[in-house]
Symmetry: D2
Subunit: 308 residues, 4 copies
């Protein structure tokens, strides 16, 4: 098998301050498909194009942020192997029974050194993308709003970046795609990791604030859809962080903004394809501005400081 | 490791009728970077963005077509394992020594049931994409011409589609992404296979003409670059087959045209990402037109008949 | 006044074979806004972005084609002057009273040498584009379908091209923007005329079939919207003529297709801006293919023969 | 004649601090074609697509800013009529002899109430766009750099906005397209004026700093070319002001940046077409942010304060 092991970001459970407002936001502004709710009152969403039952779960809480981050793995055998590998690496794991989350099989849960809770799972109901599996066409009318292609990746912050980076690379099979070095030229300030051919499936940033979320990212079809997303945000009065602009890192074209609870999200297109035979790209401390925001060549204060 | 085994199409050796004319075409019309020639008189090319030394080799011959198709694999261990697996599957293999091809390590060669010659290799000189590995920027001026991102995939024809499909799926780890069924609803007329998250790394079409090439495909950055490619072809009087238009299969946006030797090539953008947990999409015989050319909904004679 | 006289194509009355089917087509496939009907049973449409009450009127009839073509002029004084100028030029005119057409003032009607009926008018109710005149935003969700920006121009056929061309240039203030010459190098086979800074407000083609319509054209926002239009046509099974591709003439990017009655329409984007100090561009007979279809460099039979 | 009187912005003479650096900038970063210099040491440029000999003249000086702004008018008769009209309106005019500026006929010069010097002219050598007037193709390789379509418009500042607005509207035939009102709801803070079907040929902003330039604007082909322009600016270390983003006013998509002398320029695409029968759009004082920067919905200090 060429694409094996950990496949992709598959779900995340986001804490929102007002569920009704958030369901409206993720339905009508982000343009996700509302897939239902469970008996814990959690609300489930997928993008129109995703085939699995959901990729976003909202949980009402007093504080914004992300409860956990889930990766889909190839199959049960992979899950069992990774469970053993994690334990062997010294990481405690626990199982969550199938059905605790709608339409989803058993999950393996562990906490990374940066304090974030991760889950691995291999089974979720395939509900399709609405175009069918026989003679599918092309979607010409999305559900409205930003209407992204998929949940794509997360950027998350914590102190022990090295620990989480190594755990993901040594145990879960991720590779470093790009990195920003500290002034000492040695320490990783931030790393972009891939478990696939994407330029990033997850990014870790060194930050004393453990278990924090910088952003969850949604992929868009094109640079013209990035413009459309910015127009939607303006029309719907969404709090913008920055963009549209291009990243130096990954070369993606992006907008950052905030959901009604203050959770930052990214809507972006592009980014090059990565293969594990490619050498990581390195950005030096003095070029951090260009690394993140290639056009402005400087970071804005809000981007640097706000996490949830 | 999440991305393992066979990584991607890495090179192909194309027969051209007039080397000088072809070097001019692939340099100035296709917009590839000419990387040099070897003592056999073969000429080497890469796209501006590719980091490995080359992806296209031209060999002057009396008849157009493709000599062989090369896939890069992860490492030597993978090569050895696949060699053993191929032999175990009943496929004879041979080794070509490092250095026979410029900047390239040893290659493993075998012939697929459709008559095509394939190669696997794991080492090629990393010459970079010209932007460097430290603080790389974004390319703003390509070498001119069509200037694709990468060699992307091939569509090739032969009688024993089932044999090649099974070899690629059972031994090399490819997955069926989409397929067109014959009138009987059972037989595969064509299959699109992926060894990565691409919608296709190779496609096989059932055709009595064994070991033939339908097209080699180059990826473009965007739909606007597809337009640019069409403009370049018109300005340079390249023989157009069809396009710009969209595929039903893969949903890519494309143009087909011919090089001066009559070898068809594709320049395309887009196409969805595929993961091995996704069910293949199936197109029925009566919808073959929409499957291939979503906009015209019918195949043109030339597309169906010309191979090299 | 810098922009004076005849302003733009403002309306046309199209004959359709089945009104219900046509209202559905222009509403849900073309994505126009249905503005109502009059006591003659005619149905009125505008694009979402147009501010005047309507630009398309459908009339049910036994034969497809266009009843008349209307240009908006600057004001009543212009209308009166052009009436006098037309009469002085030997063209008979008649008046149609305000109110005969919904939301529209009096119209001046005349027949051009190619047999087409034209109208001039200066008053139509400004219903706005739905975004308002104070602090308007940007439209993020159109009415669905192709959703063009505006009715843009017509290409119409008749024998006395010279007569209509001269009438438009000498009396109505149009300028020749581009032309295709016959084999003799002298005779105009086709002329593209502008009354504004558009590359064409109308085109005449020499054709024995007087008073015929080749196509009515709708402007799209971008090349990506041309792709979307092609996707909509495929999804809705609209009869495609050709495209997407680029014109040599005007450099626009286009698709031609047919409405349910067989009337050809164009959906296109781009095209350069024309000013009256610019010399006309000339295409020779042997380059007619490139002039019309820059990418294919040849005309298709259907495009050459079908008119309504 | 439908398009008459004042046609378009045709030239401007920009003061630069270092001629060599500026010639390099406008040649290699902006991607204009260098057309030569005159015996006063002024350097002339045009865009690749412009047909007239030049649209930008650089003059070395100790202070940045614009010497004068030139509009091309239809013909000599128009020039004479506007000269008489200006004098009748109380505006003094002077003539500059043909040949004082390269490839250009006589010019009529006057000073507007905001202190800016304007010129009208009707003759300039037509050097073509390099594609020829017979069977022209489509440009596939520009001169590199940003490579805009044309000089498009200027935004200029001065105290007596009302005076300049009225002069342009009452004498030169411009129309108000959009305006921003002051807090009193009456006073114009800024007006966008058109002499064509463009959403703006010139904009005046009320500002005590008379005879100042906010920016000269260059049109780009598409939103994708706006991205390319931003990439070029980053790669060439051009001082960015803001963008890419969309305007509320005109709906254009834009970037603002500075030339090496500190003169702000705009590179933008899009914007709707305006006709003189369209009511002006009005933006209220509290929505000024959205009016200018639709996405950020707020103005940045630099944009508000820096003029040359």
């Amino acid at each position: 098998m060429a694409m094996t092991g950990v496949l992709r970001p598959g779900h995340c459970q986001l804490r929102v301050l007002d569920m009704q407002e958030s369901v409206d936001f993720y339905s009508n502004v982000m343009g996700l498909v509302h897939m239902g709710s469970d008996d814990q009152g959690r609300e489930y969403f997928k993008t129109a194009d995703e085939r699995d039952h959901h990729s976003l779960i909202l949980r009402e809480a007093d504080q914004a942020g992300m409860d956990f981050y889930g990766f889909k793995v190839l199959d049960k055998q992979t899950l069992e192997q990774l469970d053993a590998d994690l334990n062997a690496y010294g990481v405690k794991t626990e199982r969550i029974a199938a059905g605790e989350m709608l339409a989803t099989g058993e999950r393996l849960r562990f906490t990374a050194p940066t304090g974030h809770v991760f889950e691995l799972y291999y089974q979720r109901e395939d509900v399709g993308d609405g175009l069918g599996y026989v003679n599918p066409g092309v979607r010409v009318d999305g559900p409205g709003g930003i209407c992204p292609v998929r949940l794509d990746h997360w950027q998350i912050h914590g102190a022990d970046l090295d620990g989480s980076r190594d755990l993901f690379c040594n145990v879960l099979g991720f590779k470093v795609v790009e990195r920003i070095k500290a002034e000492d030229g040695e320490t990783d300030l931030a790393v972009w990791l891939s478990c696939s051919t994407k330029a990033h499936d997850i990014a870790f940033v060194r930050d004393e604030r453990n278990n924090t979320l910088h952003h969850a990212a949604y992929l868009l079809e094109s640079w013209e859809r990035v413009l459309h997303a910015a127009d939607v945000m303006a029309a719907k009065d969404v709090a913008l962080d920055i963009g549209p602009l291009r990243h130096g890192i990954t070369k993606g074209k992006t907008i950052y903004a905030f959901d009604p609870s203050g959770n930052r999200f990214e809507t972006f297109s592009g980014g090059y394809d990565f293969y594990p035979d490619m050498k990581p790209l390195v950005w030096t401390y003095d070029q951090m501005g260009s690394a993140i925001f290639y056009h402005t060549r400087e970071l804005n204060e809000r981007f640097l400081t706000v996490v949830t």
